[in-house]
């Protein structure tokens, strides 16, 4: 319990520090930081439209952050969630447009299942390369993101194009109900929450979850006790891909209603940030995802109300993550000295 309190305190401290550095940047360009942050907050929560937009932005981040975290639990650094969102989205769009012979409830299922299958298959490639041949997954997943982006971009400007000036597909025949019009918040958020709860339960309460944690902690130990660490690693990456696929499906069916070129840019990396800041702690990740989506959706309001560019928000989150990764940064000098002393005494 003490550890939980400690990590919460750490996160809050980091948050304050990041916002402080952001404030300095705002001062540096001659604006008032208090006004900017108030505008940011208003931009995220003030009124039905803005609150709804924040929720709509939160939905994919929740899924992508958990997707990154689950892969990290198995020891993978899966930067490829973004590509998986793209491919899940395009698959959902294809099925949603073309498989109209299915009855409606089945069509919903088919969209989600298709998105999950394709995204999982995409995640399988870097996972298998890493597990069996030691190919660094950070490199492959980053490069494959770009490949996925171009594949979908080709499809919506070529074979699946709606023929409009914007590269986009035809509208899908099934959509998720939007409950906060005119914003695009939709019932996908409940699907996302349910999926995330399931994944967290699975990780902590099932033997498969235990295997994933064991492999992430020490693959050699896992192999020694009879867990096929390679297979578990790959399955965790594929699960991570599936979550990305679901996010893509919700975006297409819930937010846009069609596949929009480039729609997922930043979704994967922001999810990764949310997860990295809390060191892939599954319980904290959703809250961090929410915080980041508030920052994101408030940024536009801030740019309009004050002269502060909205890229400031990305700068703050980047500073946030850099400080958060420094594991020993907040063990202050006194404490460190005490630790050193303790070590010497035991030795």
């Amino acid at each position: 319990m003490n550890q939980t309190v400690n990590s919460i305190r750490r996160i809050l401290l980091t948050m304050v520090l990041a916002l402080g550095i952001g404030a300095l940047l705002i001062l540096a360009i001659g604006e008032n930081p208090v006004d900017a942050y108030v505008a940011l907050f208003k931009g995220a929560f003030d009124g039905k439209l803005r609150l709804g937009t924040t929720l709509a932005g939160f939905t994919p981040l929740l899924l992508t952050s958990i997707a990154f975290a689950i892969a990290a639990k198995a020891g993978a650094f899966n930067v490829g969630v973004e590509g998986e969102v793209f491919l899940g989205g395009i698959t959902a769009a294809y099925i949603g447009i073309n498989w109209t012979f299915l009855p409606r409830p089945m069509l919903y299922l088919a969209c989600f299942a298709g998105a999950m299958a394709v995204a999982a298959a995409w995640a399988f490639i870097p996972a298998a390369l890493r597990a069996y041949y030691g190919v660094n997954e950070v490199c492959t997943t980053i490069l494959m993101n770009t490949v996925a982006l171009y594949i979908t971009s080709y499809l919506v400007s070529g074979p699946m194009s709606a023929g409009t000036a914007n590269a986009q597909s035809l509208p899908v025949t099934v959509t998720l109900y939007q409950f906060m019009k005119p914003s695009s918040a939709n019932v996908g958020i409940f699907i996302a929450i349910a999926v995330v709860v399931l994944v967290i339960l699975m990780l902590n309460k099932t033997s498969w979850g235990y295997k994933i944690r064991t492999v992430g902690f020490n693959p050699s130990h896992a192999d020694y006790v009879g867990i096929n660490s390679k297979r578990v690693f790959i399955s965790a990456m594929m699960l991570s891909g599936m979550l990305g696929g679901i996010a893509g499906c919700i975006e297409v069916l819930g937010v846009h209603g069609y596949f929009l070129n480039n729609f997922a840019t930043g979704l994967g990396s922001n999810g990764m940030l949310a997860s990295l800041i809390v060191k892939n702690n599954m319980a904290f990740t959703p809250f961090m995802a929410f915080f980041l989506s508030v920052l994101k959706s408030g940024a536009m309001g801030m740019q309009q109300a004050t002269g502060v560019p909205k890229a400031l928000v990305d700068t703050i989150t980047a500073v946030f993550i850099i400080i958060a990764t420094m594991e020993t940064a907040f063990q202050f000098a006194k404490k460190r000295k005490a630790q050193k002393k303790g070590k010497e005494e035991t030795a």
Partner: protein, 316 residues
């Protein structure tokens, strides 16, 4: 497809050699930036970010000072600062290198976007005739020689420098005491420590030099390869560099050869686009080639390693 075969000689000609080298140079610098830290067993995932900050700094300083040289120097210093943030985080405060590296990449993307807006009040890109580009080397006597002239004339100064840097680093890694220490730190830090090498100090030095090279990579990209700054203009070249570094096992010469392969696929793609190949396929080609080449080289290394092991056992 027919069109491609008919115009085969237009696609594969002498100018392709320089085109390949030209698109490979930014990646070569990036790969060297990653190679030097890899020798000290630090995976420099932040190469992309270092490069982007370098590119922005180079354009800004060149624009305000009117000197491309000052632009390069400033870019190298900026790259070193960014890389030192990463070094302090990783070495002093125990950050996971991938995590802080990705953080650095995000920071670079965000802060350049922010500064382009704050300094030049433009979004997306910044270009101006006042940005002084890195000059090209024109050797007058080559003009009259047909093939050599086309191959070697009018190279950018930094393109020549890339070749010097490859040779220099090769020498530094494998023929100097410093290089020996660097590799010792990377391969067996405990042994290096026992031998009296200050491990962390060597790591900091490697990161510092890596930052200088990464900044230069960015400066070449924004002042040599093109003369402008575009948001996210590195476009994953940093990661391609890291992949090439893996391909070459952090050996500068092999690493550079890997980069040429990506440069080749890039410039072939650009030519094929004229003959009806969809642009997206052309654009994704270097990425696919990178992943494929990286995988093949790792598979080959693994099987070579296994063979060596089994030879050892049968020898006993």
């Amino acid at each position: 497809m027919n069109a491609i075969l008919e115009n085969f000689d237009k696609i594969f000609n002498v100018s392709l050699v320089y085109a390949t080298f030209r698109s490979a140079t930014p990646i070569i610098f990036a790969a060297l930036c990653a190679a030097i830290t890899q020798q000290a067993n630090i995976l420099n995932i932040g190469t992309e970010g270092i490069m982007l900050v370098g590119a922005f700094t180079a354009v800004t300083v060149s624009y305000f000072s009117g000197s491309w040289f000052l632009g390069i120097v400033a870019a190298m210093i900026a790259g070193a600062i960014i890389s030192m943030i990463m070094a302090v985080g990783h070495i002093r405060y125990n950050s996971e290198i991938c995590a802080i590296g990705m953080g650095i990449n995000m920071l670079a993307l965000a802060i350049t976007k922010f500064l382009v807006k704050a300094i030049f009040n433009s979004t997306g890109s910044f270009s101006s005739p006042d940005i002084k580009a890195i000059p090209r080397v024109n050797l007058a006597f080559l003009d009259s020689i047909p093939v050599l002239g086309e191959l070697f004339n009018d190279w950018c100064v930094t393109e020549w420098f890339a070749i010097i840097l490859i040779i220099f680093l090769q020498f530094l890694f494998y023929k100097t005491v410093w290089g020996l220490r660097l590799r010792a730190v990377g391969q067996f830090p405990e042994a290096a420590k026992t031998a009296g090498i200050r491990v962390n100090s060597v790591k900091y030095q490697a990161m510092l030099i890596s930052g200088l090279i990464g900044g230069l990579a960015g400066a070449h990209l924004s002042l040599g390869y093109s003369t402008q700054f575009i948001e996210n203009m590195t476009n994953n070249r940093g990661f391609m560099g890291v992949a090439a570094m893996y391909f070459g096992g952090a050996n500068p010469v092999f690493t550079a050869l890997g980069c040429l392969l990506f440069g080749f696929s890039d410039s072939i793609g650009a030519r094929l686009q004229a003959y009806g190949i969809p642009s997206q396929f052309v654009l994704m080609m270097p990425y696919i080639v990178t992943v494929a080449v990286l995988s093949i080289s790792m598979v080959a290394k693994l099987s070579a390693g296994r063979k060596r092991e089994s030879a050892l056992h049968s020898g006993n």
